[in-house]
């Protein structure tokens, strides 16, 4: 059976008000198991509120989020988040950062060893195993966090513009890496970005949000073979199309 037939996450009528400020307006969509979904929208449209509702940091004013058919519950389901700024524990080594969440979840030691080894291999970070975060560059620090999130094998992995300020060369490298991790681990990913080229490079499906109060304007399926060529006419056509949907600048 195709892994893509199974719905993993169901978002229904998600609505959020802060006092009178209407940020999110009746957003509904499904995420399939193992899907890589990108969310784009104009600056200030409520992307971060949207993400915080998915993490359950905020509770919605209306609507619900279901994982495997049940209302999402941080005690039962595992939701990992990668923020824009690296968020490793500065007093822990790279390896201990990778182990941290797994130990909180009280997984057996052999399982933790196996997962951490696997991630260190996939990222090629053997030489940094015993380094502390402050000894790493920002990009390497972010790679650790992304590895840590994948190691949790979460039900849902949320990424909030993790490569925001990195140069294109670095971004392409890291984007290829995140695709490699995703393929290897089969994780369900929601990736939020301002960068449309990035969204089209990564996503199987792009969700376009409107200005505040954010609604889903459109879903664009990106059916391009990987690795994708950012200069290919089909790629540029989709990139331009998505850009036109949100362009304010």
């Amino acid at each position: 059976m195709d892994k893509h037939d199974e719905t993993k996450v169901r978002v229904e009528h998600l609505t959020k008000y802060f006092g009178d400020l209407h940020v999110l307006d009746d957003v509904s969509f499904n995420i399939k198991k193992g899907e890589f979904l990108c969310v784009v929208g104009p600056t200030g449209c409520g992307k971060t509120t949207f993400l915080n509702l998915l993490t359950r940091i905020y509770m919605p004013t209306k609507g619900e989020l279901y994982i495997d058919g049940e209302p999402a519950d941080p005690k039962k389901h595992s939701i990992s988040v990668v923020f824009q700024e690296p968020s490793s524990m500065p007093w822990l080594t790279v390896e201990k950062n990778l182990r941290f969440g797994l130990e909180i979840k009280k997984l057996p030691k052999e399982e933790i060893d196996r997962r951490v080894e696997n991630i260190i291999q996939l990222l090629g970070l053997q030489e940094f195993r015993n380094s502390y975060p402050h000894q790493l560059s920002v990009s390497t620090a972010q790679r650790i966090i992304i590895g840590r999130a994948f190691a949790m094998q979460p039900d849902l992995l949320l990424m909030d513009e993790p490569y925001g300020q990195m140069d294109i060369k670095l971004r392409f490298y890291l984007e290829d890496e995140v695709i490699r991790l995703w393929k290897e681990m089969g994780t369900t990913v929601v990736f939020i970005t301002h960068n449309i080229e990035e969204a089209v490079y990564l996503a199987e499906r792009v969700l376009i949000l409107t200005n505040k109060p954010a609604k889903i304007k459109e879903e664009v399926k990106v059916d391009l073979p990987r690795p994708r060529d950012v200069t290919a006419p089909d790629f540029i056509r989709i990139r331009n199309y998505v850009t036109d949907q949100i362009k304010w600048w």
Binding site: S137, T140, E161, G164, D167, I168, L170, T231, W249
Partner: protein, 255 residues
């Protein structure tokens, strides 16, 4: 070069090193290049390659261990009021309004209030902040704060404007907007601009010429002349993407 262009700034064999815990760290290694009058020059290099060090040297905020800098044919030592700067971290004074921030340089220079208000207003209008003269920095968005920084630098009427990754903290879309803005402002009020970035797309969008630096210690890898790429440039245009790929291939990956 079809016509003979006037060289306004010249860097000759610039080297910079620092003493660190376990020895000496080279940041800039024998960098030489020239900048033409009213040119938009982009200094492009990977993260932490020594770009900001080069800017600080040109601005006279630090002295090189080797090499010379010539402004208008004369060697300069230390800061010079013909060179202005827009910082990545803004450095706006939070207790001053937009107007008071923009006119600060003129105030220090002892220009009379009426006169300096007039000049400051001109540049506030130019960067599109008309109506925000009495706002404080915390009331403005990231893009607007950068506009204040640009207006402030222009108000001092420098011949050369140094912009050190001014859009590094902005999101991709606001960044596109500001890139178009900075070109619009430059077209209207021509100055020599040296613009530092690690963003290859931004470099190809803005530059007359790109000076590509290696990873640390910075050396000049290559200089690209983009005179055959007409403005306004389109980031998904075939030729644009080709140049972007070419520059990208040639850029060091600094993981």
């Amino acid at each position: 070069m079809d016509e003979k262009k006037k060289i306004i700034l010249k860097l000759e064999n610039i080297c910079q090193s620092y003493v660190v815990k376990d020895g000496v760290k080279d940041a800039v290694d024998n960098v030489s290049f020239e900048i033409y009058d009213n040119e938009f020059l982009v200094l492009l290099g990977p993260g932490h390659c020594g770009k900001t060090v080069l800017m600080n040297l040109i601005a006279g905020l630090e002295k090189p261990v080797g090499g010379k800098i010539f402004l208008d044919g004369e060697e300069i030592h230390g800061s010079d009021k013909r060179i202005g700067m827009v910082f990545q971290s803004l450095n706006l004074m939070p207790w001053r309004t937009v107007m008071a921030n923009v006119e600060f340089g003129l105030e220090i220079a002892g220009v009379k209030k009426e006169e300096r208000r007039k000049i400051a207003q001109k540049y506030i209008d130019l960067v599109g902040l008309t109506g925000f003269e009495h706002s404080y920095p915390h009331e403005l968005s990231g893009g607007m704060k950068q506009r204040v920084g640009i207006a402030r630098a222009y108000t001092n009427n420098p011949e050369i404007l140094l912009m050190d990754e001014p859009f590094g903290q902005l999101d991709a879309q606001t960044r596109y907007a500001m890139e178009e803005e900075v070109l619009r402002i430059w077209e209207k009020e021509k100055r020599t601009i040296i613009f530092v970035t690690n963003n290859i797309e931004e470099a190809v969008f803005l530059a007359d010429r790109i000076v590509l630096l290696s990873k640390c210690p910075a050396t000049v890898k290559q200089i690209y002349d983009l005179k055959d790429l007409p403005r306004p440039r389109n980031m998904t245009d075939k030729e644009f993407l080709r140049i972007r790929s070419e520059v990208s291939e040639n850029t060091d990956l600094a993981l």
